[in-house]
Amino acid sequence: MNPSSAESAKRGISFIVNGEAKKVLAHPMERLLDVLRNNLGLTGAKEGCGEGECGSCAVLLDDMLVNSCLIPIAQANGASVVTIEGMSAHSLMKPLQESFLECGGAQCGICTPGMILAAAHLLDKKLDPTLADIREGLAGNLCRCTGYMQIFEAVAKAARRRVTQ
């Protein structure tokens, strides 16, 4: 494919990102992760494995938790995408962020945006999750630093905080 045909293969993609309407010109098979990071400057989602194993590129796509490295941008056309940067107004964010800091849930921090999105997604569905719920809810997010224990603790604490709020 010569450069001009690569350009012509690009399509206009319209979607909502963190509540704002966005339009980008991209090849339909470009990864949502690359469009978020390179075209829109949203670097909170990270690439860990590029094959949907580690969850560090997790974002919410129409309220579903997805690995953005596996989503062709064409699939996001017309959808609503929320990244860690767009979560600040979410009522769960403050309790989650504070609990992560207090409990040691973030060490190197590279899995943390994905981990916090997964935790928020879980707490949106379950008011009072058990440890088993938390383990399952975070099963798609790998962390190499913590051994997960302090992350479980942080999520449980955030859930309790919300209940008492």
Partner: protein
């Protein structure tokens, strides 16, 4: 105390190298060897690629010495004539459009004359071909204490065993990456994901033949390292900087996962042989230990990894007589390198499995054999270092057994295992980990630390010690704040940047809290002394008074800085020739207990409960300390049960997270962490190293538990379901001895 850089991490604002872009930046990629060993005959740039669009760098473009300067300088930055392992870098390409690089890398084809290659320790030892030096050996050590040859005839039992550990990938979630810029006036600047800014600095000075001040290395937020970003960043930084020099534009190289796993370092595979003379009542009279590690194709850090493995080989026990022979050998795999524990998890795996073997032969319990052989204060280690600390390993063991409910469980499991399709077991490991560089290492490093107070009364810590999750920023700020009597918020830490911070040494060897922490304490005290000596500050000051004093001092005298340099404790003696003396300024001590279930239907092992009890001196920050232990235990559970590097002709075949399995949230037991506190004279506020210790104990504790559950003596890790299947199926037992239980003679 919250983690200093924590807020940026939980909001996604923290900046890692791949989050950064410079104007006009190109992307770089590496063309690598496809064979294990051979002579490069010809390089073809294939059709279908407009090569004019690409910047191409080969070894000829290197202005200085073509090596990654580290210890022996034997590893080239780019292979020019010969390749010695798969994935060895040969050419570098750069292009503005990252996706276009993959196709270009594939379009380069290289013709080789293949040479015979070596892929195991045994092949390397046989020396059918010599691939490194005179005898394929990077380094060997001999430790001798007492008279081993005289003890065999006094022994009631002679217990032998052979133990193996596999390679392990560090698997930091952020892959290796750097950005480099070059200009003829200022030289090279590199921003990267790295542990040791001054290692990269030294390597670039050599590669570019530039003076010190023309190389600048900046550590970005680093998404995990575990040793995997100790020496390798010098390589990738050299590559990006060469492309930047040739193109005149900044160049980013960020590996994808497959390249990172295939091409960068892993934990050294090892083999350990024990032959131990034991008395009738289970006391070690003496023994021989042979410890061998596979270093891969170049020397890199293997000699230092071997050193730590050597010194830890005798474990937490008293050996009246011992001979430890160790060596690091060459094979045609990518060089193995630093990984949390650094040789100790390998030799301690063998020691702690062997203790259970000794117990069986003598006919006493695993608990009793350890109790009878524990080191005590006043006794000497294998290198004849007298234990001056007040240690009580009996008490540590007793507490670990209580915390894990060991005795009751052991009894209950033995009863339960008579029926059903599951077998339960419980196992222990007792061990030690030396903190700081080995022997005279800290003396050579000669670390320097600074502190600088601003007119706003904020004190900034100046160190090259890097934060990569362990809590360096937080703990060092905490130590400085405590030394100054200031709130934690009034202390900050500089981003490690070689143009700003002095060389406080590499961020390795569990040395940061203990060694660098102590220097931070001294530097911070220096600021306070300067202010009190000039009469600007009096005892019992408030932060406001401190601020006023700083402001006045700076207005009158200029910058308010204080530096502290490492001074070796006077009573530390080490003989590098005989490998004898004070190997470490302090040891951390631990007893771990693992409880497992072996499923006789799936042949999988599940760890059900894990107790980690350790004595690490004063615990500076309980949340961070606990996080170091749980994280280390999790990695070590992976090392024991999941993480299998599949090799073929020196290349990792399963270089993906899909088929190289690390523990996920569903895979781990509750990891219950406990500390015994004990003061230590050398460290800051009595702290000892902590980061590597938890990597040492879990694997042997788990395999001891598996043996307790099944009665089968596995001596090799990772222990996979297929190994259990072979060993536990009766029809297999009657056939040849399975490879996984090698060592049962």
């Amino acid at each position: 105390m919250p983690r200093k850089e924590g807020w940026d991490k939980v909001t996604g604002a923290a900046r890692y190298v791949d989050d950064m872009a410079l104007p006009g930046m190109l992307h770089g990629a590496t063309v690598r060897s496809t064979i294990a060993r051979g002579k490069i005959k010809q390089i073809h740039f294939g059709p279908g690629v407009d090569w004019n669009e690409y910047v191409v760098v080969s070894a000829k473009d290197i202005p200085g010495k073509n090596c990654i300067a580290l210890i022996l300088d034997d590893q080239p930055c780019l292979a020019s004539e010969f390749v010695n392992h798969p994935e060895e870098p040969i050419l570098l390409l750069a292009h503005p459009d990252r996706p276009k690089l993959r196709k270009a890398v594939e379009a380069v084809s290289i013709e080789y004359d293949s040479l015979p290659a070596l892929h195991t320790i045994e092949e390397s030892e046989r020396q059918s071909t010599i691939i490194w030096g005179r005898d394929n050996t990077f380094k060997n050590f001999l430790v001798e204490k007492g008279d081993v040859d005289a003890i065999w005839k006094k022994a009631a039992h002679i217990v032998e065993g052979e133990y193996f550990t596999g390679a392990q990938e560090q698997l930091y979630i952020e892959n290796n990456g750097v950005i480099a810029a070059f200009d003829p006036k200022n030289g090279v600047t590199v921003w990267g994901s790295l542990q040791c800014p001054y290692y990269v600095h030294k390597a670039l000075i050599t590669l570019f033949a530039l003076p010190e001040e023309k190389v600048r290395v900046v550590q970005m937020e680093t998404g995990g390292a575990f040793g995997g970003k100790e020496e390798y960043p010098s390589m990738i930084a050299g590559h990006a900087a060469l492309l930047a020099m040739k193109s005149g534009r900044p160049v980013k190289i960020v590996y994808d996962r497959m390249e990172d796993m295939a091409a960068t370092t892993k934990r050294h595979p090892s083999r350990t042989r024990h032959r131990t003379a034991v008395s009738k009542d289970g006391r070690i009279l003496g023994g021989e230990i042979e410890f061998t590690i596979d270093g891969g194709a170049y020397a890199t850090l293997s000699s230092v990894v071997l050193s730590r493995g050597t010194i830890h080989a005798g474990g937490a026990y008293y050996w009246p007589n011992v001979r430890i022979r160790t060596k690091a050998v060459a094979t045609n795999a990518p060089p193995h390198g630093a990984f949390r524990g650094f040789g100790a998890p390998q030799s301690l795996f063998a020691m702690e499995r062997h203790m259970d073997r000794i117990a069986q032969v003598v006919g006493i319990s695993p608990v009793e054999v350890r109790r009878r052989n524990f080191l005590k204060s006043g006794q000497t280690t294998t290198t004849e270092q007298t234990i001056k600390e007040n240690i009580d390993l009996d008490r540590l063991l007793k507490r670990a057994l209580e915390l894990s409910d060991y005795a009751a469980k052991k009894k209950r499991f033995a009863e339960k295992n008579k029926a059903g399709t599951n077998r339960k077991g419980i196992g222990i490991a007792a061990f030690l980990h030396g903190a700081g560089f080995t022997g005279s290492g800290e003396r050579y490093l000669n670390s320097l630390v600074g502190a600088e107070a601003g007119a706003d009364g904020i004190v900034r810590v100046l160190v090259s010690s890097a934060e990569f999750g362990q809590g360096t920023n937080t703990v060092l700020c905490q130590i400085a704040a405590e030394a100054l009597g200031l709130p934690y918020e009034n202390v900050s830490i500089a981003q490690p940047d070689t143009s700003v911070v002095p060389n406080s040494g590499p961020t390795v060897a569990s040395r940061t809290a203990m060694i660098v922490g102590k220097l931070v304490q001294s530097a911070a005290r220096g600021i306070k002394e300067t202010l009190t000596k000039t009469g600007l500050l009096h005892e019992d000051y408030s932060p406001e008074q401190f601020r006023a004093a700083c402001k006045e001092y700076i207005a009158t005298h200029g910058a308010l800085k204080s530096y502290a340099r490492y001074e070796a404790p006077p009573d530390v003696f080490w003989d590098d020739e005989k490998y004898r003396g004070e190997a470490y300024a302090a040891f951390a001590w631990a007893v771990y207990v693992a409880e497992v279930t072996v499923d006789l239907t799936t042949y999988s092992v599940t760890v059900d409960d894990f107790v980690a009890l350790q004595e690490v001196g004063r615990v500076l920050h309980p949340v961070l300390a606990e996080g170091q232990i749980t994280g280390g235990v999790a990695q070590a559970i992976g090392f024991a049960l999941y993480e299998n590097v599949v090799w073929q002709d020196g290349r990792m075949m399963n270089n993906q997270m899909t088929n190289y399995i690390m523990p996920a949230s569903m895979d781990l037991p509750p990891i219950r962490v406990f500390f015994e506190e004990n003061g230590n004279v050398h460290g800051a506020h009595g702290a000892k190293g902590i980061g590597e210790l938890p990597m040492d104990g879990p694997a042997p504790a788990i395999l001891n538990a598996v043996e307790d559950a099944t009665g089968v003596r596995f001596c090799s890790i990772p222990l996979l379901p297929e190994d259990l299947f072979e060993a536990l199926r009766p029809e297999f037992n009657e056939q040849a001895v399975p490879s996984s239980v090698r060592g049962i003679a």
